[in-house]
């Protein structure tokens, strides 16, 4: 009794629980029990073909749920037309099989590729749309596909009646019986879940989550947002195409009725019901959504009514889902990399070198690292920055000050590529970066923090910091799923670096707790650690001391100075003049989008223009 309640407690542990992010042992025990159940279910004496078929449809929804989970759960993209990809897979299989007698199992990868390609084509022009807008587009795509199937273009889709006479697959023997289909499908689900779990614990899976948590922060720290959103859609669609192939061959006939908006809504509910981004949760969600109406079959008329009500109640009482995703601890991540590792860990790791790998030394002080020339930017007639120019010296601390609304943050947003200037250039080491995208600028060596802290709240602190390392890695989808040796080495290198950066700001103890559980001051440090993990040459800090108390501010000044000693250049916006005085080598003063003065802080205090614009009220 005790043991089971302990396991239960672990399973039901809420994701927002402060403290350690993931004790997964209880989950694993349940997982093994569940896997065993699915494996032996069709062999149980009281299970007839009807219930094996129910098990098959649970599987179809589970596979579709897993495929939508990549898009909706991992990346947070509202996809309410996912059935379109499922339909493409089913129709490609049906058409090629009935017309050219191509074997079903051969068409399995073909369907996956077709659905993936279709997803790539239709989402590429709309991938930049946000939230509800993308949601509406996906609904539109779903309807366009379904209506096209009904309209029977070129006589291919068979109109409202669909296509009949689809073969059964052959895997050495023909797959005919309910039981055979059940095992074929659940084997594919098993493989998919295995590979998707690997993805979750990789650079790719984390990049997806960063986008879901905070898109702006993700791209400023080096994640190619567009690429990862598209890759999620393509992979998700391909998996849905696989489900379409198996569904078509089991049914032997398909029609547009199976691919309605209602189906897409059901898939959406499965992912949310199970828990966003949770693989076991999605399978459980599919089980609930499929079996619930079956159990209420005697009340046929009312069963979907009850189902709607159940969805509602679920969202009121357990909005995080039945089995919310638990984040992996640092130990867990490390363990998955151990064992089959090919090379020993790197000798230089562990030491907290913040600018490791950069060619020039800190002694090249004075040469401008960053130069802004003649920048202009206005928003709908309101000038934010005009004719702005400044230089940030290499190996020092430059501060940008000025009254509220002077355009300081806008300058930072231009430097990091969030905004494009209308005029002027941004030169990093003499190279114009003003046309580059945020993630490219991060890779070129500029990392930033945000004025209104942008951490990834439902990820662990370690995962937050790993985001910085994203641009220093290369492993893609295939390498992460197959866990090739190069990917393992890269992952462990990234882990070590991230841990070193956490240690650098004194947050090692919080590595495994969720970022949302950190107190305010520590969140600022977490952001700094994340920026350091990007191995930047220039670190750009937007009001780092805001919200910190005096002791914390002093700590911050010590940290900033030591970063410079290690060869880093710092550029910060600051309102705390004492901090600026303590740390900065050079101060640039802005007012109304323009530079009005620059020099050492002591001079700025005496400069009449500056006093008039900004310090006046303090000095009087």
């Amino acid at each position: 009794m005790n043991i089971s309640s302990g396991i239960l407690r672990r399973i039901l542990q809420a994701p927002g629980d402060p403290g350690k992010g993931g004790d997964t042992r209880g989950r694993r025990i349940i997982g093994i029990v569940a896997a065993a159940f699915f494996m032996f279910f069709p062999l149980l004496p009281f299970v007839d073909n009807y219930w094996i078929d129910v098990g098959f449809y649970v599987g179809i929804y589970a596979l579709l749920g897993l495929s939508l989970n990549i898009v909706l759960g991992e990346v947070g993209l509202f996809d309410l037309g996912h059935t379109a990809f499922y339909a493409i897979g089913a129709y490609v299989t049906a058409i090629l099989n009935t017309r050219f007698q191509i074997p079903i199992l051969f068409l399995l990868p073909v369907s996956a590729v077709a659905a993936g390609l279709f997803a790539w084509l239709v989402t590429t022009p709309v991938i930049h749309l946000k939230g509800d807008y993308l949601c509406i587009v996906t609904i539109g795509i779903g309807e366009i596909v379904r209506l096209s199937m009904i309209n029977n273009p070129l006589g291919l889709t068979g109109g409202p009646n669909g296509i009949n006479g689809i073969d059964n697959p052959r895997f050495f023997v023909p797959i005919l019986s309910s039981r055979q289909f059940y095992y074929l499908l659940w084997a594919i689900i098993g493989i998919s879940a295995f590979l998707l779990t690997r993805l979750q614990r990789s650079r790719v899976g984390r990049a997806w989550n960063y986008i879901r948590e905070d898109e702006t922060a993700a791209k400023a720290l080096g994640v190619n947002v567009r690429h990862y959103k598209l890759s999620a859609f393509v992979l998700g669609a391909a998996l849905a195409g696989v489900a379409g192939n198996i569904y078509a061959s089991k049914q032997m006939s398909i029609s547009p009725e199976s691919f309605t908006f209602m189906e897409s809504s059901l898939l959406f509910c499965i992912v949310l019901l199970g828990g966003l981004g949770s693989i076991p949760g999605t399978v459980l969600g599919a089980l609930v959504v499929t079996v619930f109406p079956e159990l209420f079959r005697p009340f046929a008329k009312y069963r979907l009514m009850f189902f709607g009500l159940a969805l509602l109640l679920m969202m009121i009482f357990k909005p995080a889902g039945i089995l919310p995703r638990l984040r992996d601890s640092g130990d867990r991540l490390r363990k998955t990399l151990e064992g089959k590792k090919t090379r020993k860990s790197h000798p230089e790791s562990g030491s907290a070198q913040t600018s490791a790998g950069l060619p020039e030394s800190a002694q090249a002080n004075g040469k401008p690292l960053l130069r802004l020339e003649d920048l202009d930017l206005s928003f709908g007639g309101v000038t934010a920055v005009s004719g702005m120019e400044l230089e940030v010296a290499k190996g020092g601390i430059t501060a940008l000050i000025g009254p509220n609304g002077a355009g300081k943050t806008t300058v930072f947003n231009i430097i990091t590529g969030i905004y494009k200037p209308m005029n002027g250039r941004v030169l990093l080491r003499g190279e114009d970066i003003s046309s580059k995208l945020p993630h490219q600028i991060a890779k070129a060596g500029v990392a930033r923090t945000f004025q209104n802290i942008r951490i990834f709240p439902s990820l662990t602190c370690l995962e937050n910091v790993l985001c910085g390392q994203h641009s220093r890695g290369r492993a893609g989808l295939a390498a992460s799923m197959l866990r090739v040796p190069g990917q393992r080495d890269e992952e462990s290198r990234m882990l070590e670096k991230a841990q070193a950066c956490l240690a650098r700001v004194g947050l090692s103890d919080s590595a495994d707790s969720l970022a949302a559980a950190l107190p305010y001051g520590k969140r600022r440090y977490l952001e700094i650690a994340r920026a350091l993990a990007a191995e930047p040459e220039l670190i750009v800090l937007d009001e780092p001391s805001s919200g910190l108390n005096d002791a914390e501010t002093t700590e911050l000044s010590v940290l900033l100075k030591s970063l410079v000693e290690e060869g880093l250049s710092v550029f910060l916006i600051e309102h705390d003049m004492n901090l600026v005085d303590m740390v900065s080598d050079h101060v640039v003063v802005m007012q109304s989008g323009k530079k009005i003065a620059e020099g050492p802080m002591c001079e700025m205090r005496r400069n009449p223009k500056v006093i008039e614009a900004y310090l006046g009220s303090e000095e009087d």
Binding site: Y133, I144, L147, F261, L311, M314, M315, P319, F379
Partner: protein
């Protein structure tokens, strides 16, 4: 016939009037989406099914025992009574939807809201099916006499004139409320920035009550008129009309009241002309392609304003 120019022009005008009639349904339903989205930043997926509920309530009021009562009030009296009851009960349903499905879920975030909205939509749709059955129902013939006449040289039916008249009167009323009254100003303020509106002393709960009563009320009347116009109604008609009306909302600029009306009328006309001159079977495909194109090239719609994201 191909050379008969007069015939071609009159067909075009017929398509246009038909398009405006359908467009006015879309416009009335779109108003509900737009008002709710403006204040709540939420797509009320149950809205289309409230439209269907309006059609079914109207059906019940105009047939059977209640039909005798409404008939005894004369044509216009009976219609007004039916429309009033439908608007009132669907408005009540709208307020209940907000209380049950959205208010308790609001703190849990947007994704949970989408699911509870979908859950509510499934519930209403299947409740309608449980009450009225899964087979389509037919409105009684000629509630409004099938009178054809010419208005400024344009051939119209009495039903079309009635529908267009009521729709435009309702739209004008809504426009006046939202743009001219102090309560309308509160609605617009809440749509612009809910928190600031609260700080300025606007009772946002009242605003929410208002949009969830008014939007579905209008949608219910649109459902009733739709039943009178096409006569056949089915329990799942809400999905399709909801989707179309939502397209109209996007077309006009989501959250923008005049935009929703304009979007609805334009969509109705475009659809009708597509069906008449291109292909009836493919018109919906074109409509959805149009929707996606708007979102790519002018995401704020025809009348929406640009907003910049704050970093």
């Amino acid at each position: 016939m191909f050379f008969d120019k007069g015939r071609k022009v009159s067909t075009f005008i017929e398509q246009l009037v038909n398009g405006l009639t359908v467009g006015s349904f879309y416009a009335l339903v779109a108003l509900g989406y737009s008002m709710v989205y403006g204040v709540m930043k939420l797509i009320n997926f149950a809205h289309g099914d409230l439209f269907a509920l309006g059609a079914y309530l109207g059906y019940s009021l105009l047939t059977g025992a209640t039909g005798k009562i409404t008939a005894s009030m004369g044509l216009w009296g009976g219609m007004a009574f039916t429309a009033f009851l439908v608007a009132l009960s669907v408005a009540l349903a709208g307020v209940l939807v907000e209380r049950i499905a959205y208010r308790p879920v609001y703190p849990s975030g947007r994704l949970s809201l989408v699911v509870s909205a979908l859950g509510m939509a499934i519930f209403i749709q299947n409740a309608v099916m449980a009450i009225w059955g899964s087979r389509p129902r037919a409105f009684p013939a000629s509630v409004v006499p099938s009178l054809r006449f010419s208005l400024f040289g344009i051939p119209v039916t009495l039903l079309q004139v009635t529908i267009l008249g009521i729709s435009f009167a309702l739209m004008l009323a809504i426009w006046l409320i939202v743009e001219k009254s102090s309560f309308g100003a509160a609605v617009r303020a809440a749509a612009l920035d809910r928190e600031t509106a609260t700080l300025l002393g606007i009772d946002v709960r009242k605003v929410i009550f208002f949009v969830f009563a008014l939007g579905p009320g209008l949608g219910g009347v649109a459902g009733l008129m739709n039943g009178l116009y096409y006569r056949a109604i089915s329990f799942n008609m809400g999905w399709n009309y909801g989707l179309k009306a939502f397209t109209a909302t996007i077309l006009g600029g989501i959250g923008n009241i005049p935009g929703a009306m304009l979007g609805g009328l334009i969509l109705g006309v475009v659809e009708s002309l597509l069906a008449g001159y291109v292909s009836g079977a493919w018109k919906d495909v074109f409509v959805f392609i149009l929707l996606i194109a708007i979102l790519i090239f002018r995401p704020r719609g025809l009348l929406g304003e640009k907003t910049a994201e704050k970093v």
